[in-house]
């Protein structure tokens, strides 16, 4: 039993992990077929993994409704939204448009609910960015000052009209062939010091990710198994 609960998962992980990693170096057709098969399996398993998340959200909300916890009425909306989408989805056969090119009821519901809800959720942040710009972005230290200065240059440079003033009216174009229009300055900032810093971060993150993957494959890191025996 302990074997089934603890060792077998580690063994499965080890075998699948090594086979997949080695597949990168082994081009033969056997390896290619294996890679195709495994990726296809993974896609199908992903479907159930998504389901796992849905079921747990569903359970949280049904529990809330059953126990009539505070705010349980909102939970009924989750269930309602879900049912509405699923019903129109099956009625439309999963197609977004009817054969004549008009939106099906599934496509219609998507366009008038999911699109505005999701888009607005992040549009709200525009306002908070503005208020934070005023209330919290402080050059408290030299480092924060550098951050703010870069941000302001990028903000100004991202507006085409700044370049109109800079290049069009002030006539600043280049120094001996080195372009210094506002667009070029922003491109340089992003393409050079920014890319360098990002790359430095990438190295560390990538090494960390590789180390974690290795530890998982070789069964040293077992957090994913969860607690218990």
């Amino acid at each position: 039993m302990v074997f089934l609960k603890r060792q077998l998962p580690l063994l499965i992980c080890f075998v699948i992990g090594t086979v997949t990693a080695l597949q990168y170096y082994v081009p033969t057709n056997f390896s290619a077929e294996m890679s195709e098969g495994l990726s296809n399996w993974y896609i199908i398993v992903s479907m159930f993994a998504a389901l796992l998340g849905f079921v747990s959200v569903g359970m949280v909300h049904t529990k809330k409704i059953q126990r009539q916890e505070p705010g349980w009425a909102y939970s009924t909306l989750v269930i309602l939204g879900f049912l509405a989408m699923v019903i129109v989805g099956f009625v439309s056969g999963g197609k977004e448009t009817t054969p004549d090119g008009r939106p099906s009821s599934y496509g219609w519901l998507y366009n008038c609910t999911l699109v505005p809800l999701q888009a607005t959720m992040f549009a709200i942040l525009g306002f908070y960015v503005a208020s934070a710009a005023f209330r919290s972005f402080r050059a408290k230290s030299f480092d924060a000052g550098v951050l703010l200065a870069t941000a302001v240059i990028v903000l100004l440079g991202n507006v085409p009209f700044t370049n109109q003033v800079w290049a069009g009216w002030l006539g600043i174009h280049d120094v001996a062939g080195v372009k210094i229009e506002m667009t070029d300055i922003v491109s340089w900032l992003i393409g050079t010091p920014n890319a360098a810093a990002r790359r430095g971060v990438t190295f560390g993150v990538a090494l960390g990710a590789i180390a974690t993957s290795l530890k998982i494959i070789f069964g040293i890191e077992r957090a994913y198994l969860g607690g218990g025996d």
């Binding site: 077998l8 998962p9 499965i12 992980c13 080890f14 699948i16 090594t18 997949t20 990693a21 990168y24 170096y25 399996w41 993974y42 896609i43 199908i44 398993v45 479907m47 159930f48 389901l51 796992l52 849905f54 079921v55 959200v57 909102y74 909306l77 989750v78 509405a84 989408m85 699923v86 219609w108 008038c112 609910t113 999911l114 505005p116 809800l117 888009a119 959720m121 549009a123 525009g126 960015v129 480092d143 870069t150 991202n158 001996a176 062939g177 900032l189 992003i190 050079t192 010091p193 920014n194 360098a196 810093a197 790359r199 430095g200 971060v201 990438t202 993957s213 998982i216 994913y224 198994l225």
Partner: protein
């Protein structure tokens, strides 16, 4: 149908925007609907795009090895044993498959994309040697001729002449060591120094003293430029999203949609004001 859709879309948009005023029932309605609708949409996509065409069609097809497809289905089903506490441990086999596959694929891919290639792109010659070949000299000459021709008779430099001059400077920077060549070398050096110093900043095995401290200080500055650029761009992103919503709202305020935006806006403000009056004096906070 279109008008109904517009009213729903406007209503939900404004519900979400009402969060700006404060967390309120309208917003909660929008948010909870969003969760349900997204899951519903997802389920339909999974059913038709994965279950039907990758599993069901194969099973009902003619292929002699069609039942192999039941293996991943079984693995997937094992994931769901999580909800049955007694046999929840069986889900570990499935997690082992999912995580093992991801980890195995990630090792060589991450190493190639994020380490090997990035290192190669940084280790460039820090000083460019001019190309002394006759071909390069000839190219410069041609570019110069084209530039001379372009500026002939023109009193002021316009876009076209400038483009010709850039081309000339470009080829001159290859055949000679010009200011432009120096600038390009400078760019290479900045990247080199930046990567080098940021790596030092994230170095935990030695105390940051002496030269290491200097390097890591420079590293921080590079990081701050990165975050500054990231911040500046994020602002643009958020504003674009806001503009997108404003445009839709404006579109829906036309007569053909029954003035959806203004009508709903006024109604909502009225309700929120009423709620405000009703709750006045009560503690409005809520933690759990």
């Amino acid at each position: 149908m279109e008008i109904v859709g517009a009213w729903i879309a406007v209503g939900l948009t404004l519900f979400m925007f009402s969060f700006l005023y404060k967390d309120n029932p309208f917003y909660k309605v929008g948010e909870n609907l969003y969760v349900g609708i997204t899951i519903g949409y997802f389920v339909i996509q999974l059913w038709y795009k994965t279950w039907i065409d990758k599993v069901w069609d194969v099973l009902t097809g003619q292929a002699h090895d069609r039942f192999v497809i039941l293996i991943p289905v079984l693995i997937g089903a094992l994931l769901l044993t999580r909800f049955v506490p007694k046999i929840a441990w069986m889900s570990r086999w499935a997690f082992a498959f999912v995580i093992g596959y991801g980890a195995g694929l990630a090792i060589p891919a991450t190493l190639t994309t994020s380490v090997v290639i990035q290192a190669q792109a940084t280790a460039k010659p820090l000083v460019t040697m001019p190309d002394r070949s006759p071909g390069a000299a000839k190219a410069t000459e041609n570019a110069k001729a084209a530039y001379d021709k372009a500026k002939e008779g023109a009193a002021k430099e316009d876009e076209k002449i400038r483009a010709a001059r850039y081309r000339y400077e470009q080829s001159r920077s290859v055949s000679e060591y010009t200011f432009l060549t120096a600038y390009r070398d400078f760019t290479t050096i900045v990247i080199f120094v930046g990567v080098f110093c940021v790596l030092f900043y994230f170095f935990f095995s030695i105390e940051h003293r002496g030269p290491v401290r200097a390097f890591s200080r420079v590293g921080i500055l590079f990081l701050m430029i990165y975050f500054g650029a990231s911040y500046g761009n994020t602002v643009m992103g958020r504003l674009s999203l806001l503009y997108g919503r404003v445009l839709d709202l404006k579109d829906y305020s036309r007569q053909m949609y029954g003035f959806a935006t203004p009508v709903i806006l006024v109604l909502m403000i009225a309700v929120l004001a009423a709620l405000h009056v009703k709750n006045k004096g009560k503690d409005e906070g809520h933690a759990a």
